[in-house]
């Protein structure tokens, strides 16, 4: 393979991985945009859904479609449970007193629920690895000297479809108008008669579905499910969101894909140990750059947990 072909092949692999990060980041950003708080229990609520789904699959040998339906339903239920417990709708109202305090309580509570959901899954299913239904097998598609696994193609297509669907929902529907208005200015959203707590719940439901699509495709590609999934998902989502600009859906997608490509190239040239380190290095650089920009420090410092900058 030529040097160019090598770079192109690595990039393609990276885009496929990055498309997943983009999906995770989209779900995470959806919630962050509406409540302006990091939901640390995001990954574990999606993970719980996949655990239940694979348990059902192993026990009853159900179809992959039903498997996905179960995973989504459980993730939605877990997401709403997190919302009810950690992010009640009054928390969005920034005119409430003790706001910084409430913010910390919310985020810390979501950390506790993260642990709770993860324990719920791993105590009931304590093995380190569970099989997961495969999506498309290992068929490889060859195209002008480059090869792409068919399931990587499915990853890409589903990521694109989710992005498009999310975009159309947010910018072309009344429902999307309500979400964007709430993201922009929650108090004004109540003033014009948008049911802000309803928007809260909807954001968690959408995030659960988007996250489940991403995680489902990831597990189906690997054909296995591990207890690390929840943490992995939350971390990748947060990384992509923070690099992409807090709360920006477009930024989340771009940063997710970019991080995937970066990881693929670093792994190709420097080995897997440096792969994860490279993304954290990028995050560090982004944060340092933001912090050194005069006047932006406090804004972004708060921004990691809450704060503004939502588009």
């Amino acid at each position: 393979m030529t040097a160019f072909g090598d770079i192109a092949q690595t990039t393609i692999d990276g885009v496929a991985a990055g498309a997943l990060y983009a999906l995770f980041a989209l779900g995470f950003t959806m919630i962050f945009g509406v409540i302006r708080r990091a939901n640390l229990a995001y990954g574990s609520s999606v993970m719980l859904g996949l655990y239940v789904a694979t348990l059902a699959w192993m026990t009853f040998d159900i179809s992959i479609v039903l498997c996905f339906a179960i995973a989504s339903a459980v993730a939605i239920a877990a997401g709403l449970y997190v919302q009810m417990l950690c992010f009640p709708s009054r928390a969005a109202d920034r005119q409430q007193p003790n706001d910084a305090h409430r913010l910390m309580v919310s985020v810390a509570a979501s950390f506790a629920v993260w642990m709770q959901l993860e324990e719920l899954a791993t105590l009931n299913m304590p093995a380190h690895l569970y099989p997961f239904p495969a999506l498309a097998g290992d068929a490889v598609i060859e195209l002008v000297g480059l090869s792409i696994r068919s399931d990587a193609l499915i990853v890409l297509v589903s990521a694109l479809a989710v992005c498009a669907a999310l975009y159309l929902t947010l910018y072309r529907t009344r429902f999307g108008l309500g979400i964007r208005a709430t993201v922009d200015l929650p108090r004004a959203a109540s003033v014009v008669g948008i049911n802000v707590s309803g928007v809260f719940r909807k954001a968690f439901v959408i995030a659960a579905i988007v996250g489940t699509i991403g995680a489902f495709v990831a597990c189906a590609t690997a054909e296995q499910l591990t207890p690390k999934l929840g943490m992995w998902l939350t971390l990748k989502a947060m990384l992509a969101m923070m690099v992409g600009g807090l709360g920006s859906l477009r930024g989340a997608v771009v940063a997710g894909v970019a991080l995937g490509v970066l990881e693929a190239h670093v792994q190709r040239h420097f080995g897997p140990q440096l792969r994860d380190a490279s993304t954290y290095l990028v995050l560090f650089a982004v944060l340092a750059w933001r912090a050194w920009r005069p006047g932006a420090a406090t804004q972004f410092g708060v921004g990691v947990l809450g704060g503004r900058g939502v588009r």
Binding site: S190, V191, G193, I194
Partner: protein, 246 residues
């Protein structure tokens, strides 16, 4: 005259601070009722309590006889009360057009909404010019127009306005008051909170004085201008002098 809004013994507060300590008042149909009072009297709290954004505790609020106290904010908008909030609160990163559409969020019927949208844009040519601009980039006066137009998009029976002239240049203030009388002539009842007492009393058909969470006086604006006590307490001595000079 029929009463549109009737408030009896309304109490509400922020945390431990009791902002409303038993507010009672009636707003009559078709007029411009004006609520005056010093800072911290509870005027804004009353506006938020009437719209359900601040949770009301005791008392009652009826709109044309129907109880609306305790309803969620979106149900109150649906029942026909719209608020032009203090500091306008337009959606800054949404376009002017999207802001107006958000104002009609509680309504159904695409055709009617589009018709009202066109009507609003012809009523406010400035908004027409800037329809694709982000609301955060508008001037204060334009944002105020947008806030009024947005509230009108819900087709309210009662329009609450919280200090629409605050922070605006005198010429713009005159324009806003012209808009208020124009809206009033369309048959929408207006309940207005204002610091600009002179301008407010000029257009008001009725006024209330609020102090420390209670309505302590209510009357006709014409007699208020005559009344020496009110002159000194609420309109300032310079105002009294101004009147003597005139």
């Amino acid at each position: 005259m029929t009463v549109v809004l009737s408030v009896r013994g309304l109490t509400a507060g922020y945390g431990k601070i009791q902002a409303l300590k038993g507010v009672s008042l009636d707003v009559e149909e078709g007029g411009i009722a004006c609520l005056l009072g010093p800072n911290g009297a509870g005027k804004t709290a009353l506006m938020f309590a009437l719209t359900g954004i601040l949770k009301a505790q005791e008392g009652s609020v009826t709109l044309r006889g129907a109880e609306i106290k305790g309803l969620a904010p979106h149900h109150i908008v649906e029942s026909g009360v719209a608020l032009v909030p203090e500091n306008r609160l337009v959606f800054p990163s949404m376009t002017v057009l999207e802001n107006l559409r958000a104002g009609a969020y509680c309504r159904s019927g695409k055709g009617e909404i589009d018709a009202d949208l066109a009507k609003m844009l012809s009523t406010f040519p400035r908004l027409q010019q800037r329809s694709q601009q982000l609301a955060g980039t508008l001037s204060g006066g334009e944002q105020q127009m947008l806030a009024v137009a947005r509230a009108m998009m819900s087709r309210p029976k009662l329009l609450l306005m919280d200090e629409p002239s605050i922070g605006l240049a005198p010429l713009v203030v005159a324009e806003i008051f012209r808009i208020i009388t124009q809206v009033s002539r369309q048959g929408v009842t207006i309940f207005l909170v204002e610091q600009n007492v002179h301008m407010a009393l000029k257009i008001a058909s009725h006024f209330y004085l609020m102090e420390q969470g209670k309505v302590i006086f209510s009357g006709d604006p014409k007699t208020a201008m005559e009344d020496d006590v009110i002159q000194r307490a609420y309109l300032g001595s310079s105002a009294a002098q101004h009147r003597q000079g005139a």
